[in-house]
């Protein structure tokens, strides 16, 4: 079931759109913001709310790389793996992250604190290598700064 709050937020997006189903990505974003990820049940709920079939909603949900169709931890780490960051040492940063967290790309720490994901160019190439945690952008990130950054996220 969508909560009243979720429904209200989705309706706010729909107000700008001539067609209800055009709010599909907005609805997925709203649900994910509240629940961290989008479950099969949420896909069905969104479909019902927008007058679509669950398959239609899922075909959209699975297209977009930042809609999570599997559970993620409390904080998602998005590590840029594009060209400028790669030049500036992204592979070392990934090694470092994997060691610190004890997980590989696509995995979640056992305490559910972090999920480690790679992402295309974050538009912060002048601060490479860059990463995002939740809504916060960091760069350049190196061995000296990484621990201090991770500590901010419980």
């Amino acid at each position: 079931m969508l909560t009243e709050e979720e429904k209200t937020e989705i309706e706010e997006h729909l107000a700008a759109l001539p067609v209800r189903r055009s709010g599909c990505i907005d609805a997925l974003n709203v649900v994910q913001r509240h629940r961290r990820w989008v479950s099969d049940e949420s896909v069905r709920d969104i479909a019902a709310f927008l007058g679509m079939t669950p398959d239609e909603v899922d075909s959209v949900a699975t297209f977009y790389s930042l809609i999570f169709r599997r559970p993620v931890g409390r904080h998602a780490i998005l590590l840029c793996d594009s060209a400028s960051c790669w030049i500036m040492g992204q592979e070392n940063l990934l090694d470092l992250l994997e060691k610190r967290l004890g997980i590989g790309l696509g995995q979640t720490t056992e305490d559910d604190r972090f999920t480690l994901l790679s992402v295309a160019c974050l538009g912060a190439c002048d601060r490479a290598p860059a990463l995002m945690i939740d809504d916060d952008l960091y760069g350049p990130v190196g061995a000296e700064t990484l621990d201090g950054i991770l500590e901010r996220y419980e």
Partner: protein, 428 residues
């Protein structure tokens, strides 16, 4: 002093100007001027005369595009604007500077194009990760409504406009203009077949202008100071200034607003501070991931559309990725190709099937498992995936770094083949 119409009111690490502050420094002057009695067609003509070309990558003349929108009482309504703030081209970080730094300048540009083409509703399409940009844009839109710059009957002119922010959810292909239109309709962002082109048939089947963030930020100054003033800002044939950027192993990576047509050398050496100590320049991608490599033989080329094209590449987004001599060109091309393979929307076969294959060949080469025939296969594909064989420019764009790397760095590919390893990685 050098004129900087795009960034004059941007101070790094400071909150952007509020609507009220922006008005005090002359902001929304372009809107006052046009609503005070310039005909829409005349606004479009000014933009045509200014020589402004799109800053989103393709360099399409902006005024010409606006001129394709059906006008008059018989035109289909509503008409839409989709502002392209997807900015996912690797190496590109210029629209972020504008979105975060001065959202009211973009709104002013939005108002100008919307009046010129008499459209009703604008969507600002922002990539998912631009959270700060989205927050500042929403704040600015709220202020603009409150002060009467948006909404019904703006300045009593009878002209009305609504602006909404759409935040995306990932995928580079959303930046392709018809992919963006599908995405705004809530669909998968596969591009649409063209024609029809968006100015005639776009969002929900209605006429839709698509423009890049930086393009629209150029527009207010054209209206206020005139097309000739804008033309004169440039050192080349295309009008205006350009927000150039540099990333890679230079001393001071960053973005700077400079006259259009500034030379590569001035940008790399004066503004980016030159290469880091001990490193030298091997080559550079002048305008983002989907442009051809140029080399140190091209340092005196002007960074404008025509000059860069003559040198064998594209201005693209005008943000340069620098390749130094301690970075493996094959590894860089592999990284770029993996990106394009991952971001292919999968609609056309050459792109969907070809890019992963090319990535796997490049990966073999990089890891010392290349075959003698690989370079020929790569070369063939730069033609097979080139212009004319796919629905959108993603695949042809992906071929530009490969084709040009095979030209300029052929010896490096061959060293990988001969030595059966990457010369830039330590043995073992």
């Amino acid at each position: 002093m050098m004129e900087r119409p795009l960034t004059q009111h941007i101070v790094p690490n400071r909150e952007p100007l509020s609507a009220e502050e922006y008005e005090k420094v002359g902001g929304y002057g372009a809107v006052r001027k046009i609503l005070g009695g310039i005909a829409p067609q005349d606004v479009t003509r000014m933009v045509k005369d200014s020589g402004l070309r799109g800053r989103g990558g393709a360099g399409f003349p902006t005024g010409l595009k606006w001129g394709f929108v059906p006008m008059g009482d018989a035109a289909p309504r509503p008409k839409y604007l989709a502002v392209n703030g997807d900015e996912m081209e690797p190496g590109t970080f210029k629209d972020r500077v504008l979105l975060e730094g001065n959202p009211h300048l973009l709104l002013e540009g939005i108002l100008v194009v919307s009046y010129a083409t008499q459209l009703d509703t604008a969507f600002v399409f922002l990539r998912a990760e631009y959270k700060l940009a989205a927050a500042r844009m929403r704040q600015a839109i709220g202020e603009a409504y409150a002060r009467g710059w948006l909404g019904k009957n703006i300045l009593g002119s009878g002209f009305s406009l609504d602006v909404h922010v759409h935040t995306s959810a990932g995928r580079y292909i959303c930046g392709e203009e018809t992919g963006m239109i599908n995405s705004l309709e809530g669909r998968r962002a596969a591009p649409r077949a063209k024609p029809p082109f968006p100015p005639v048939v776009g969002l929900w089947g209605k006429p839709t202008v698509t423009n890049n963030v930086e393009t629209l930020c150029c527009v207010p100054s054209i209206v206020v100071n005139g097309p000739q003033w804008f033309k004169n800002l440039s050192r080349g044939d295309d009008g205006g200034t350009k927000l150039y950027g540099v990333s890679g192993k230079v001393k001071r990576p960053g973005a700077w607003e400079l006259p259009m047509g500034t030379t590569v050398r001035e940008i790399l050496e004066e503004h980016a501070g030159g290469m880091r100590d001990g490193l030298s320049l091997r080559g550079f991608l002048p305008g983002g991931a989907s442009t051809d490599f140029l080399t140190d033989a091209h340092l005196d080329v002007k960074m404008d559309f025509a000059s860069i094209e003559k040198a064998g590449s594209r201005l693209g987004t005008g943000t340069t990725i620098v390749l130094d001599d301690e970075t493996c060109p094959v590894g860089l091309v592999l990284n770029l190709t993996r990106f394009f393979a991952q971001e292919s929307c999968g609609w056309c076969t050459p792109c969907r099937e070809g890019l992963p294959w090319l990535a796997s060949i490049l990966s073999d080469l990089e890891n010392g498992q290349g075959r003698a025939s690989d370079l020929k296969i790569l070369e063939e594909h730069t033609r097979l995936l080139g212009p004319g064989n796919t629905y959108c420019a993603l695949a042809p764009g992906a071929m530009e770094p490969i084709a040009s790397a095979l030209k300029h760095f052929r010896e490096d590919f061959e060293r990988h083949l001969r030595g059966k390893r990457c010369p830039w990685r330590s043995a073992g």
